[in-house]
């Protein structure tokens, strides 16, 4: 049994240590907001926070996150500026890559609330979106900065 702390809750899972965190979160914890995209850590759809650091859960073995704090899309409060901005601008199209993008953007603004446009683009360029919501993702992050009262 491995103990996991996800979104402030404690879980005990029986999956082997080498099982990717992504599948454990989705199948054993039933938190399906975190998505499978490539299985190689390239597309970013599986991004979660492990001790505040954006992490590609599809290539993260379960054994490596024992005792660490994990936050998934479901763990970011609905009224957080990042989610509010995303909703105001109707960012998602198909919506599949959006949890990963939102988690990444949430971590970015916690780390660097005053991130410049260039910094935002540099960080968010590690996420793939086939619907092409990039223009709106950028605007939403800048909108969230304003909602947070950040002067950029």
């Amino acid at each position: 049994m491995i103990e996991l702390f996800v979104n402030g809750k404690r879980y005990r899972v029986s999956a082997p240590e080498d099982a990717p965190l992504l599948w454990v979160i989705r199948e054993e914890l039933g938190l399906t907001g975190t998505k499978f995209g490539c299985g190689k850590g390239i597309c970013g759809a599986c991004t979660v926070l492990v001790d505040d650091t954006p992490t590609r859960s599809c290539i993260t073995p379960l054994g490596s996150v024992k005792g660490k704090r994990i936050i998934t899309i479901e763990g970011i409060p609905s009224n957080h500026p990042i989610k509010r901005a995303w909703k105001e601008l109707d960012v998602p199209q198909c919506g599949y890559c959006q949890p990963g993008q939102i988690v990444e953007a949430y971590a970015l603004l916690r780390r660097n609330p005053k991130a410049t446009k260039e910094e935002i683009i540099s960080v968010m360029s590690s996420h793939l979106c086939r619907c092409g919501t990039y223009q709106r993702v950028l605007k939403a992050i800048q909108r969230a900065q304003r909602l947070m009262g950040v002067k950029t």
Binding site: W23, F36, G39, Q93, Y96, C131, T133
Partner: protein, 693 residues
């Protein structure tokens, strides 16, 4: 206007809409013989409107677009509207298509008239009920914002709804005058945003059933190979693996978790028969297609005598293009949950094609239609790929064998290996000009698989007196399929880049030349004029160093785009800074921001393909199996996009696809005028572009 004789049912109310050649007739269900009860709309007692939607939500915003049309005519508060996917059924077929299918940029075009009528009928019936209840003449009642009132009393639609069952269905419900619209033409918040931002939206890959197993299929590395033998002795030792067996497309590994299934598959040893494409790599495919182009094809369109004009002309241009296979790359790979039991079958699928899914389930299970339920989930991208139902067939086969619910998931590599690409093609273009630089002849020949082969060429709106369009059919065992904008995706590229080469040869401005070729089409001319003006055509680009324009008509809409581009001559890297886009989809624009979003989307996807994408081959199969070797556009490569909606006369046009075809030629045209290079192949990768300098 819908003019096919057909039935559509609204039977929460016992309403049926009878479609006649000259319009609609609404009947009560019992008057429509032979129809089973079904549900299009319902209003709950606590005043929520529940709509069943017969189109798949894959990002294009169709749940929002369809529902707002009903809500507008019904005059109902948007925040109380809920949508549910309609199950696969005869009743929910798109009356213009005769199928339940989402594709061809047709959802709102085909459904909006019916849905307006639905909302208007419901509203009239609510008024009749209130009139009877309160003994007040109908013309003293107002139905607005989800309530009926006579000025003194007020009742919610939900309170009155049940009683509409006993009211005659209006034979000719009055539709709103456009000046009365509350949502149409203005827009509403997307109905799917909340769930998608919270991570609560359920895609095919997210469905979980009790006692469900997970499956992955090992597929052949080359197209056309079949299973010869397999050894699962190591696979079966993996903890969690429950079963290994062959299915029609490969070997299924089933386990209690997906990671166990994957681990099991890694240890599977499979032998495949020799592929008919053995030895086919990129180079061999190129040679094959170029060779096919020399063969005689079928003539798709012929005007005048293009051969004679080409021989006579002093000014001529000729080009041969080679465009690659493209992968859809839906961010959600194919995934499906099937539960096949002795006497019933339930399928949860992110499908664009409910009718085909149902047909497939009937074939696999042998069950009658009424024992099969096809439930459409959200689609994590579609782009045409999810109108193919092979992944549903596989899930059904596996569940039938296991007698248990099963979730089949494709890994990214499986998804690429399954094929169904946008076809590769080779195209020959020859054009002749007169002394004034007018296009007098065009010869267009394409060698391609038969998927929208000559779309956008044989029906080009350009007025060219001598025109020849020829199609050589290619039948390689590489599965091809509809890819957002289908044949237009390649044909707009070849035609629109060639027009600019003709313009240069004839010493003409490419905008002027297009306006001349489109002289009889006001709508086409208008989008070009608008985009040229907004982009500052003829002036220095705002960003970047060169400007290119392209225009294309597809799926009922006219689109013109200008791209502002720069090129790093050292690296060969092409940068697109800004794209100005004008679309004319007719006089009725239901949700302008969804149109803008679809233009942004199509521009990004088209640009991704133009700059980066090609399925690479080795030994008869794809070698670019994941995003490391099949890269997509990223945010840092995405241009600023400005969209202008032009309202022309005519029927409603589509939105999901028409924004894609013009972007690749607009970028290539910018490189052509700005840097003097001719792009005859895609993608415009740094290596390729550098080789042209």
């Amino acid at each position: 206007m819908i003019n096919r004789r057909d039935f559509i049912k609204l039977s929460a109310l016992g309403l049926g809409i009878f479609l006649l050649p000259d319009g609609f007739k609404i009947l009560k269900a019992k008057e429509v013989r032979g129809l089973k009860p079904a549900l299009w709309a319902n209003i709950t007692k606590d005043n929520y409107l529940i709509l069943l939607v017969n189109k798949s939500e894959m990002g294009q915003g169709v749940y929002t677009g369809l529902a707002m049309v009903v809500a507008d005519e019904l005059d109902f508060p948007w925040e109380r509207v809920r949508v549910k996917p309609a199950p696969a059924s005869e009743i929910y077929k798109d009356p213009k298509m005769g199928m339940q299918l989402t594709g061809g940029s047709t959802s709102l075009r085909n459904m909006h008239e019916f849905l307006r009528l639905l909302g208007a009928s419901m509203r009239e019936m609510l008024i009749v009920v209130a009139s009877k209840e309160w003994q007040v003449p109908k013309d003293r009642l107002i139905a607005k914002g989800g309530y009926v009132t006579d000025g003194k009393r007020r009742a919610s639609y939900g309170e009155l709804w049940q009683k509409t069952m006993n009211v005659p269905v209006p034979s000719n419900p009055k539709l709103k005058d456009p000046s009365e619209f509350i949502y149409i033409g203005k827009g509403v918040p997307r109905i799917d945003t909340e769930e998608k931002v919270e991570g609560k939206a359920v895609f095919g890959i997210d469905v979980r059933l009790k006692d469900m197993l997970y499956a992955v299929v090992e597929r052949p590395p080359s197209f056309g190979s079949k299973l010869k033998a397999y050894d699962d002795s190591q696979t079966k030792k993996v903890e969690g693996v429950v079963a290994v067996f062959p299915i029609s497309t490969g070997v299924a590994v089933c386990a209690k978790s997906f990671y166990s299934a994957l681990k099991g598959r890694e240890r599977l040893k499979v032998e495949w028969t020799k592929s008919p494409l053995e030895g086919f790599d990129d180079q061999k495919l190129e040679e094959y297609y170029l060779n096919m182009l020399k063969k005689q094809g079928v003539v798709a369109r012929r005007e005048g005598n293009p051969r004679r004009e080409l021989e006579r002309a002093k000014k001529k241009v000729r080009a041969i293009y080679l465009l690659p296979y493209l992968y859809h790359a839906t961010m959600e790979p194919m995934a499906c949950v099937a539960d096949v039991k002795e006497d019933r079958c339930v399928v949860y699928a992110p499908t664009q094609a409910q009718t085909w899914a149902l047909k497939t389930a009937k074939e696999i299970t042998g069950l009658p239609e009424e024992r099969i339920e096809i439930i459409t989930t959200y689609l994590g991208g579609g782009f045409g790929r999810k109108a193919n139902v092979e992944f549903i067939r596989e899930a059904l086969e596996i569940s039938k064998r296991l007698k248990k619910p099963v979730k089949l998931i494709y890994t990214r590599e499986d998804d690429v290996k399954s094929g169904y690409y946008r076809p590769m093609n080779a195209t020959l273009l020859e054009g002749a000009l007169d002394e004034k630089g007018r296009v007098v002849a065009l010869y267009h020949k394409i060698a391609v698989a038969p998927i929208g082969a000559t779309q956008g060429i044989e029906d080009t709106l350009y007025k060219i007196p001598n025109l020849h369009v020829e199609f050589v059919r290619v039948d390689l065992p590489i599965p091809v399929w509809f890819w957002r904008s289908v044949g237009h995706s390649h044909n707009a590229f070849t035609l629109e880049t060639f027009i600019d080469r003709l313009a240069k040869e004839g010493k003409r401005d490419p905008v002027d030349l297009r306006l001349e070729l489109l002289r009889n089409n006001e709508r086409a001319k208008k989008v070009i004029e608008v985009v040229a003006e907004k982009a500052g055509w003829g002036k220095k680009p705002k960003k970047g160093e060169a400007m290119g324009l392209a225009y294309h008509f597809s799926f009922g809409s006219h689109v013109a785009q200008v791209a502002e581009v720069s090129l790093d001559k050292k690296t060969g890297k092409v940068r697109v800074h800004r794209v100005v886009c004008a679309i004319d989809l007719g006089p009725m624009v239901i949700h302008p921001d969804l149109v803008v979003a679809q233009m942004e989307s199509a521009i990004n996807m088209g640009l991704s393909a133009a700059l980066k994408e090609a399925v690479r081959f080795s030994n008869g199969g794809p070698s670019s199996l994941n995003f490391d070797t099949y890269p997509l556009l990223t945010m840092e490569e995405a241009p600023e996009v400005e969209v202008y909606i032009v309202k022309g006369e005519g029927p409603m046009g589509g939105v999901g696809e028409p924004g894609l075809p013009p972007i690749a030629p607009a970028v290539a045209n910018a490189l052509f005028w700005g840097y003097g290079i001719e792009i005859n192949r895609l993608p415009m990768s740094p290596e390729y572009v550098r080789s042209l300098l």
